[in-house]
Symmetry: C2
Subunit: 304 residues, 2 copies
C-alpha cells in the first residue's frame, strides 16, 4: 500500500485516505498471533509508516488517526480490534461516497446550464471512493440534465488530467478537451472558461490551499480574467492546525519525472530539476471553497 | 525546408527567417533553365509558399520579403539574380549573428552578478544564427565573468526548454535547472527568480508580444510577484502594421502533440484538444523589450 501511494498508483487525497485505512487492515492480517498490546503497538507503528509516505496529504493522516483512535478505544481482544478496524475502514469509504455527493449538491448551483468548467489534475471519481470532489458538481449538473463541458489541464509531469480526468469524463459522456497547463490562460483570454473548479490536498485555517502543482498559476490567470476560482474538497481536507499555507511542507518528487517520458529521455545530462508535487494558492485568490458541509467564502476562518 | 519549418526541425523566429531565405536559394537551384521573368515569378511563388508554413513568425515574412525585393531590384540575368539572392541570404545570417550580440550587450546591464534567470521555450543559440536572443544577455554575463544561473521551463508540448535550452546551457557551462511550466509560479513565490527573459515571435506596435504558448501565464506570475519580465528579440520581430496583439492570428497545431509522447498514447479516445502554438502577452505586463536597437520601456510605440 505504501508503494502504491508512493508511486501514485493510488492518488487523490480522499482515495489515499481510504487506501491508508484499508492498507492498515490488510497489513495487520499478517500478524494474527499478536496480543492486544502487540497489536496496538503495531497499529501505531504501521500508521506512522503509511502516513509518512505522502506527508502533504492531510486525509491520509486523518484516516490513520481515526483508525488508531478506534483501535485504542476498542481495547479488548485482538479479534474485536481487528473487526472494529475493518468496520471503520468500510465506514471511511462509505462516508467518502456520501461526502462526494454532498460536495456535488452544494456546488451544483455554481454550474449553470451550458457551463464550461476548467479543472486541473484529477479530483474526480478516480481520486475518491465516490464521484469525486472538483468533478462532483459537474457530474450532478449532467445528472440534472444540464449541458456541461470540461477543459482538463493535462497536469505535468504525470498527466493526471489527460490520463485520468479525460478518461472518466469520456466514460460519463461529458464533453472534454485537454490542454497543456500553460494554455489555460489563453483559453481564459478567449472567453471560453466560465469557472474553474479544482480539488485540494490540504486547506489551512485561513483558506490557503495546497493542491497539485499548477493550481496557483491557474488561480492567478482566473483572477486576471475575472473568472470564479473554486476549490472543492471534503471537510477532512481542512487542517485547522495549519494556520496559513506558509506552514505547509511541500513534497518534492524525483527529478526523473521531468527528465524522461515513457522511457524517452528528453533532458540532457548535467541538468538539475525543480519538481514540487504541490503548490499553495493564497486564500484571496479563491472565490469560494465547496465542502460537504457547504460553501465557504472569503474571509475564511476554518476551525476544527 | 517547408517541412523542416512545419515539423519544427528548424524553429525559433530568427532561425526560421534564415532558413526561409536559404531555402529559397536552394529551391531556385532546381530551376536553372528559368528565364528572368520565370525566375522572378518563381521567387514570388516560392516565397509565398515558404511564408505560409508558419504565419505567426514575422521574421520569416520579413526575410522572404527582403529576398523578393533584392530579386526584383536586381532584375538582370538569372545568374545575377541567383548570386544576389545567395549574398542576401548570407547577409541575413551574418546580420543575425551581430543582432544577437547587440541584444546581449543591451541586455547585459539587466543581468547582475549572481542573477537567477527564468526563461521559457528556447530563444538561444539553437533558435538563431548567433548566440540567441533571450539567452544572449546570459551568455554575455558569463563572458563578463558574472555568475549566472538559469531556470528553463520545459515548455509543453514540445519540450524545447528541457531538450534545447537545457542542452545549449550545459554546453556553455551555465548552471541550468528545468521545471514544468506550471512550477514557475511556485519558484517565484519562493523568491528564487530575479528576472524573466523570454523571446518573441511577433511584437505589435503597442508592445503586445506573441511568443511560445506559456509566456502569458509566466508574465502574470512575474507581475504578481513583482519580478521584472523582459522580452528580448530582434528589431525585425516588431511588426508596426499589427497595432495590438488582438490582431495576431494564433497558429493552432495538431492535437496529437498533446495526446501522445514518444509513441506513448496518454489521452483516451473521444477527447478533444486545445493546442495553440503561441499566446499574446499584453504590453502592460512587460517591464522592457530588449532589441538590437536598445531597450524599449512601456508605454511602447513601435514604428517601422
Amino acid at each position: 500500500v505504501c508503494d502504491a501511494i508512493l508511486t501514485l498508483a493510488v492518488r487523490g487525497a480522499p482515495a489515499i485516505g481510504i487506501a491508508g485505512a484499508m492498507g492498515l487492515v490488510v497489513a495487520l492480517a499478517a500478524h494474527d498471533a499478536d496480543s492486544t498490546p502487540q497489536l496496538l503497538a503495531r497499529v501505531d507503528d504501521l500508521s506512522a509508516r503509511i502516513g509518512s509516505v505522502r506527508p502533504t496529504a492531510v486525509n491520509l493522516m486523518w484516516a490513520l488517526e481515526r483508525m488508531r483512535r478506534v483501535a485504542h478505544a476498542t481495547g479488548e481482544s485482538p479479534e474485536m480490534i481487528r473487526s472494529a478496524l475493518r468496520r471503520e475502514a468500510d465506514a471511511i469509504l462509505r462516508e467518502d461516497r456520501a461526502m462526494c455527493r454532498r460536495i456535488g449538491e452544494h456546488g451544483l448551483s455554481l454550474v449553470a446550464d451550458g457551463a464550461r468548467v476548467l479543472t486541473h489534475c484529477n479530483a474526480g471519481a478516480l481520486a475518491t471512493g465516490g464521484m469525486g470532489t472538483a468533478l462532483a458538481p459537474v457530474y450532478l449538473a449532467k445528472e440534472a440534465g444540464r449541458t456541461v463541458s470540461v477543459f482538463a489541464d493535462e497536469t505535468r509531469p504525470l498527466l493526471q488530467g489527460s490520463r485520468l480526468t479525460a478518461w472518466e469524463l469520456v466514460q460519463a459522456g461529458i464533453d472534454v478537451t485537454i490542454l497543456a497547463d500553460n494554455m489555460a490562460a489563453s483559453l481564459m483570454r478567449e472567453g471560453r472558461v466560465d469557472l474553474v473548479i479544482v480539488g485540494a490536498d490540504r486547506i489551512a485555517a485561513n483558506g490557503d490551499v495546497a493542491n497539485k502543482i499548477g493550481t496557483f498559476p491557474l488561480a492567478l490567470a482566473a483572477r486576471h480574467h475575472g473568472i470564479p476560482f473554486y476549490v472543492a474538497a471534503p471537510w477532512s481536507t481542512v487542517d485547522p492546525a495549519t494556520r496559513t499555507g506558509a506552514e505547509i511542507v511541500i513534497e518534492h518528487r524525483d527529478a526523473d519525472e521531468l527528465m524522461s517520458t515513457a522511457g524517452w529521455r528528453n533532458a540532457p545530462a548535467g541538468v538539475s530539476a525543480y519538481n514540487p508535487a504541490f503548490d499553495v494558492t493564497s486564500a484571496e485568490l479563491i472565490t469560494a471553497i465547496i465542502t460537504d458541509r457547504g460553501i465557504a467564502r472569503t474571509p475564511y476562518h476554518f476551525a476544527g
